[in-house]
Symmetry: C2
Amino acid sequence: MQKYFLSDEAFSTKIISGDDAFHIKNVMRCRINDEILVANNGESFLAKITNFIDKDVTFEIEKEIIGNHELPVFVSIFQGYPKGDKIEDIVKHGTELGAYEFIPTLMKRCVFKLDPKKKDSKLLRFNKIAKEAAEQSNRDIVPNVIDIKNLKEINFDYYNVKIVCYEEASKNGELVEFKKAIKSLKENDRVAIIVGPEGGIDDSEIKYLESKGFVAASLGKRILRTETVVFYCLSAIGYEMELK
Amino acid sequence: MQKYFLSDEAFSTKIISGDDAFHIKNVMRCRINDEILVANNGESFLAKITNFIDKDVTFEIEKEIIGNHELPVFVSIFQGYPKGDKIEDIVKHGTELGAYEFIPTLMKRCVFKLDPKKKDSKLLRFNKIAKEAAEQSNRDIVPNVIDIKNLKEINFDYYNVKIVCYEEASKNGELVEFKKAIKSLKENDRVAIIVGPEGGIDDSEIKYLESKGFVAASLGKRILRTETVVFYCLSAIGYEMELK
């Protein structure tokens, strides 16, 4: 059943408008009395459609759905800004895989040039992708995509587990650090994962991050593309912590 | 360093032609005496470029590179044929993550319509994507993308571990089977993983596959898109078996 994350206003007035109303009417082709899932403020409910008024949809709550669909840890993905629209795939699949938030990050080897005029519309688009992926994958929350930051402007004190994915580490046969970090995770840990852009992470950045408490870890014997690194990290965390 | 998988002919004559020669000259902008990696028949070598003759590149072998970049098991991905060009992403990222082969599979809920005229060119394209991804990710072999098959035409006797990824299982709170199967893997196991198309796997297909020795497994608490399922399975196998 399709889930819709509602604004506080839509949730309190029980009126869905805009894109979500369009989706309910024209994509899902719902009718009066059909059921949908609505979510607000981390809680999910089974709801029944009561009417279609102009372009809006009204509903009533039937019951709260108890069921946690979130990873037991908060994973923040600091993604070295990649080329093209790769970041859209990272947000889409990373949301399905349970990321808590995404922070597009400017690093030395980023070739991406930030056009200040387009920044706000890009951020809006990334957050829309996260909302749609969260609805499709039945998340309890929508991950935030946060404003682009420079690596060295970020305060990492908030995070208690810090991993930087480092391809060079794998060339030296390092195959221990990632699993050690993931196996040590405890519920509600705040995990920062840094993924370099296509060109990788500069040595000076690795040194800087190590000084901030990061562990440089390899993800196995093959060289992964930047987007694949994110899929791997989140899959491994889900596999380790969610499956029994 | 970029790797090139060479045909037996190119490897024995020490002459690279076609796309690979173009890539060496025009993308990597190599010069005489530059080093590249060449692979043939599962073995990798450090090689030195000796000349550029017309559109061809000649080389000599410097030394064999010993280093296993393969997963310790053979994972065959039976992918319910998805819409659009998703299968290209599955082959690309699945190759980086270590899949042994891909078998596009026709299942009940596939909306894909096979155009017999385009089949051969599609298969050629998928195999080219696998080769490029294998080179970029430093694999020792290039995974095969095998001709499209109907689910019930496939003989699964060859495989000794058989998993069908089943979203409905997660609704019943099943979180045990996948990890149990992966944790029991032994070196050189032949693993069949079946992933449904967008619409999922039909109940009758699940029953059929269970009768063939498959275990139906959920991949956690969220609903994953078909392509994300492949990334998750291969990442989890790499995490479990390759990291220490």
